[in-house]
């Protein structure tokens, strides 16, 4: 922003013709796409959670069945992608220190990747029974 003090060109003139700043509407579209996917997945996901009892063997068997595992893996993928975009928006809205913002956005990506990987690993382990 320091260059704006030395230039008589307007901010609009400087950005015109450069295209979008980053990925355009990609995040906006993906946030809606994952939202619609979760509207479809939420009822089966809640039903699955309510099917699980206190018994470990029963839980193991239910979570390891093919339709249940597929629904939960789909739900994991869509929800983690949705929350990754959502948290980035929250960070960008409230954190104005560039360095801290970058650290938090990197941390957000790592957290979401770890959550997705752990959930999918557990579900596949239960499905394959190893």
């Amino acid at each position: 922003m320091s260059s704006s003090k030395q230039s008589i060109r307007t901010p609009l003139a400087r950005v015109r013709g450069l295209g979008s700043a980053r990925a355009g509407t990609g995040d906006f579209w993906q946030q809606r796409l994952t939202a619609i996917a979760m509207v479809l997945l939420i009822v089966p996901a809640i039903v699955i959670v309510m099917m699980i009892g206190r018994n470990h063997a029963g839980a193991q068997q239910t979570l390891g069945s093919t339709p249940v595992a597929i629904v939960l893996i789909l739900f994991t993928l869509t929800s983690v992608w949705h929350m990754k975009i959502g948290m980035q928006v929250v960070i960008e809205d409230y954190v104005h220190d560039e360095r801290l913002k970058l650290i938090l956005i990197i941390g957000n990506n790592f957290f979401c990747a770890a959550v997705a990987l752990a959930a999918i690993y557990a579900l596949l382990k239960l499905s394959f029974g190893v």
């Binding site: 619609i36 699980i52 470990h56 193991q60 948290m87 752990a118 382990k125 239960l126």
Partner: protein, 130 residues
């Protein structure tokens, strides 16, 4: 002293807290809560995949009054974010912007989220799906 003249007020002078604004920030808060709530989901899946002992530890937490409270809050956050999200999808399609429609949609989303939370907990407590 000059007579008082009726002038238009600056927006900040007429600022008042509305239901749509409250729902907007609650949508963001529930989103952030669900973000960290995924840790509970991952714990549940990993515990089931790990074995009876890890599952019993998880059950011990989720069965306690504090665990139940967290789970109840998680259910409400999820369903509030869902109904609030559906409202946003309606707006994304370009409908529901009239003052009456806007208020109606917001109230409907709020009532639906509370009702659905109660319905889910009644079904879970009755144990019909288990």
């Amino acid at each position: 002293m000059a007579p008082k003249i009726e002038r238009p007020l600056s927006p900040f002078m007429t600022y008042r807290w509305t239901l749509t604004m409250a729902m907007s920030i609650v949508h963001r808060i529930t989103g952030v809560a669900l973000y960290f709530g995924t840790l509970l989901l991952v714990w549940w899946l990993l515990a089931t995949a790990s074995g009876p002992q890890a599952y019993a530890t998880f059950q011990g937490f989720i069965g306690s009054w504090f665990g139940r409270l967290v789970l109840f809050g998680y259910t409400f956050a999820l369903l509030h974010h869902l109904t609030g999200g559906l409202r946003h999808l309606v707006w994304d399609l370009g409908y529901g912007f009239d003052p009456n429609e806007r208020e109606w949609l917001t109230r409907a989303a709020l009532v639906a989220s509370v009702s659905l939370t109660i319905v889910v907990w009644i079904i879970a407590a009755a144990g019909v799906l288990r």
